[in-house]
Structures are given as structure tokens and as C-alpha cells.
């Protein structure tokens, strides 16, 4: 007699076997009383499970559907391409401006530390050795060095102006994004209703 097929009897019972595997299981079942009895037990179990009553309908189908539809939150339709680009720009533009501003501040702080030391000699004659990294800041050096403290004040004013511009840009974009979102939610709610 061939090897028992106990692992495959469930799949056979469910009609899930095909091809060679199906033929082998069928051939074995024809000769093996133990496996045949296993199949009969599975069939008996299926009958008992099916005898367990299904859930009685509490709510008529149409009422159930209406209840579900009433609970559905509004969902906006897919955003058209141009609007998507506008939305992306509304998000990335202020973020980019913020990143640039942060970078500028970092440059200013670093150059301020360096130039603060290097620019002082214009007013107070102190001789300092050349500082490494200063070559990366020729513009700031050019601005600050000849003008001395005046140059620094100009730089600070420029920085304050830039900061204000970036802040206005970020707040403007945030306000635009919020207004667009409110409009979109309102229109989807109207469509849904």
C-alpha cells in the first residue's frame, strides 16, 4: 500500500487538489481504510458545522446599507494634476525657504565667529593668524572687512530683512494651504450630501 495521505485529505475534501496529486490521493483512498475513514470523519464534521444555524437577520439589507451610508465620512475625489502640483508647491516652497534660511543663519553664525575675530582688527589693531575655512566666505569677508562695524550692521540688517521675508512666505503658504483644504473639504461634503 502507498504512503498515507492524511495531510492532503483536507484539501481533497475541499476540492482543492488537481493533477497528479489528486490522482495519487484518489488512488490511495481506494485502498486505505484508515485514510478513507479520515475522509468520512471530515465529511461528518462539515455536516455538523453546517447544521449550526447562521446569524438571524436583525436589520433588513436596505436598512443596513442606509445605516452604513449615513456613517460614511466625506472623502474627496482624486486631485487633478495641476492642483496636485500647486499643493506640492504650497508645501515644498515654504519648507525650501525655511531650509535656505536655516543654512544662511548657520553660515552667518560660523562666519560671525570667524569674522568677529578677523574684523575686529579693523577697529582694534590685533594681529591674528590666518583662520582655516575663511576662504569659503570671501563675500562676507569682502563686505565686512573694508567697512568694519558698518559692514556688520549692514549684514545684520540684511539678515533681519531676509528673516522677515522668509517668515512672511512661510505664513502666506500655510494660510494658502489651509484655505485650499477648507475649500476642498466643503466641496466634497456638498458632493457627498
Amino acid at each position: 500500500m502507498s504512503e498515507h495521505v492524511l495531510d492532503w485529505i483536507g484539501a481533497y475534501h475541499d476540492g482543492e487538489l488537481h493533477g497528479d496529486r489528486l490522482r495519487r490521493v484518489e488512488a490511495h483512498l481506494g485502498t486505505c481504510a484508515a485514510c478513507h475513514s479520515e475522509l468520512a470523519a471530515l465529511q461528518n464534521l462539515a455536516v455538523r458545522l453546517q447544521a449550526s444555524p447562521p446569524m438571524p437577520a436583525r436589520t433588513p439589507p436596505e436598512q443596513f446599507v442606509a445605516q452604513v451610508q449615513l456613517r460614511l465620512p466625506p472623502r474627496s475625489a482624486p486631485v487633478p494634476g495641476r492642483q496636485r502640483v500647486r499643493q506640492a508647491a504650497g508645501l515644498w516652497l515654504p519648507l525650501g525657504a525655511l531650509a535656505l534660511w536655516a543654512f544662511g543663519q548657520a553660515v552667518l553664525v560660523v562666519s560671525g565667529l570667524a569674522l568677529g575675530v578677523a574684523a575686529v582688527p579693523a577697529a582694534i589693531p590685533v594681529v591674528l593668524p590666518p583662520l582655516p575655512g575663511l576662504g569659503a566666505l570671501p563675500l562676507l569677508v569682502a563686505l565686512a572687512q573694508p567697512a568694519g562695524w558698518g559692514g556688520w550692521l549692514a549684514l545684520l540688517a540684511l539678515n533681519a530683512g531676509l528673516t522677515a521675508a522668509v517668515a512672511m512666505l512661510v505664513w502666506g503658504c500655510l494660510a494658502g494651504w489651509w484655505a485650499a483644504r477648507e475649500t476642498s473639504l466643503a466641496s466634497s461634503g456638498l458632493q457627498a450630501g
Binding site: A11, E16, L17, H18, L42, M55, V68, P73
Partner: protein, 187 residues
Amino acid sequence: MFAPASSTSTDEQAWITSAQQGDRQAFGELVLRHRQGVVNVVYRMCGDSVLAEDAAQEAFLRAWQNLGRYKPRFAFRSWVYRIALNVAVDALRRERPTTDLSAEPLVSGAESPEAWLERKQQAEEVRQAVLDLPPASRAALVLREYEALNYHEIAEALDIPLGTVMSRLNYARGQLRRALSRHPEEQ
């Protein structure tokens, strides 16, 4: 080796596409088509008809919210059953099922009170034995025995390989046979 999976019908696919764009009417058609199955899956998982309808509604709400993520290569039925199974497990964690008197069929004129009582007792034993199974095996068994899903659909619904479907079903049936053999049905 195993039978192929069934697919989503054409009209159902059209409803899904419309519902994905926010069409509530189309989603209502999907709810109507799958309501019975989803309610039954939840009921067989948690054994409580009061919990089942609420949980089924919750399952459809989650389906609506996640419809954008549905991929047409899966049968919609498998996808929505997966959501229903998750909701059923969540519902069971939140509250214990009650004794479900409303699910009991009334005694019919054709059978004696003794026969009715015996049938009711046997049905309760089966219900309890199913509820005693671990959730993973119970889910596979419910989808196969009560919803007649094939192995591919069960694999999709539970997100498990075909071999695991087979082993979970074998395990569930073995456990049920042991549990029910203590109270064999008189035939």
C-alpha cells in the same frame, strides 16, 4: 496543485472604481452585495449577533476609508473579509460576547420540544467549539466552511501562504473533531 482564485466581477469592479472616487451609491451596492457574508464572518468569529452587525458596519466604514489602497488583483470579497476579520478580533478584545438568545431558532411545529432542545444543544456545542479555536485557525475555518472561499481567497484574506492555509485548516478540524467527539452527534 490548488484551484485558482476567483476574481472580482466586471460590474463590481465598476462600483469599486466609482466608490474610490467618492460615489456613495456605488459603495452602497458593494455593501448590499457583501453584507450577508461580512455579517456572517464576524458572527462566526465572535459568536454574538449583537456584536456582529455593529462590527460589520464598522468593517464597511474601514473599507470605505481604505478603498484607495484596494488592489484589483485581489478579489474584493477577500479584501473586505480581511477587514471584517480584523474588526471582529478588535471587537472581541474590547468586549466579551454575550449569550446570544436572539440567534436561537424558535421551535417549529414539526419537531418535538425534546428534538428542538437537542438540536439547540448540539448547535451550541459546535458554536462553542469553533469559538474555542485560536483566532488564526478559526478565521481560516470560518472562511472555508461557512463562506466557501477557496484556498487562494483564504490566503489573500489572511495574507498567508497557501501551505499555511492548509495547515491551519487541518489544525482547526483536528481540534474540532477532538472537542466534538466528547459529545458525538447521534445520527
